[in-house]
Symmetry: C2
Subunit: 149 residues, 2 copies
């Protein structure tokens, strides 16, 4: 019950976070913030990937908990791509800002893919999780390929 | 309604995350994970602090959203203090591992203080928030003073 409660709560966090965003003291903080959030998210995402790939035994509860964390944190990093970070050294390509609509679309596509993966993980169907995980990872990669050095 | 829903969901995340923890590929990842989670948490915590200190205008909704993120992420960093990270360069003092029970207690005290702050922020009473914020910050600082260089 407690686990299910936790998972449901985390997984519901695909709701937007409005007022909590932005407000960085300096551009370096915004860069570190987005990198940090993406790193933590990536760690939990890769644990689901390890199960999908059969590198670790499938554990439905752990997969759901990891996805719940992914869904919650996936709301955060984008606030760190502020215009004043364009000149801060990072792996972000200039087109994050020069093609902002495309970047925002790519980010939204990745988030849609995460929602789909999260829903699939909830079913506990490992074959389906494998398929949807690969689609989701491809969506992440598409954004990285286009907007990250 | 949407905001309230988000806040309630985030704020309820003081429930434990069991199966989603641990499983780092290498000690460096565990260190980066805990530092990243603490940095993101600190950013949101400091936004509440800025309101408490009067550096930015008090916005009850924003304060609640920031605390909701703090509460959710505050569950995560501790998994990164794995024994195999003792030799990785970081600001963690050796007594994180040699006085583990004290470290765990300090961490739990900080989390209790966060719960108290979160409850106070929900009341929207800025004077109370100021008082409780200072107590909470002191609890964070106690852990830093004892366990961080």
């Amino acid at each position: 019950m407690k686990l299910r409660h936790t998972v449901v709560l985390f997984a519901s966090l695909c709701l937007g976070i409005g007022a909590a965003q932005a407000q960085f003291q300096k551009p370096d903080d915004a860069v570190k913030y987005r990198q940090s959030a993406l790193f933590v998210m990536g760690q939990h995402f890769s644990r689901v990937g390890a199960m999908a790939a059969g590198r670790v035994p499938f554990d439905a509860a752990a997969a759901q908990e990891n996805m719940a964390v992914v869904m919650a944190i996936s709301q955060l990093p984008w606030a760190g791509f502020t215009p004043d970070t364009q000149d801060v050294r990072s792996r972000a390509k200039p087109n994050v800002w020069t093609e902002r609509a495309k970047f925002d679309e790519a980010q939204q596509n990745a988030q849609k893919a995460l929602v789909a993966l999260n829903n699939t993980v909830k079913t506990g169907d490992l074959d389906a999780i494998r398929r949807v995980f690969n689609d989701t990872a491809a969506s992440c990669k598409a954004c990285h390929d286009n907007f990250r050095n």
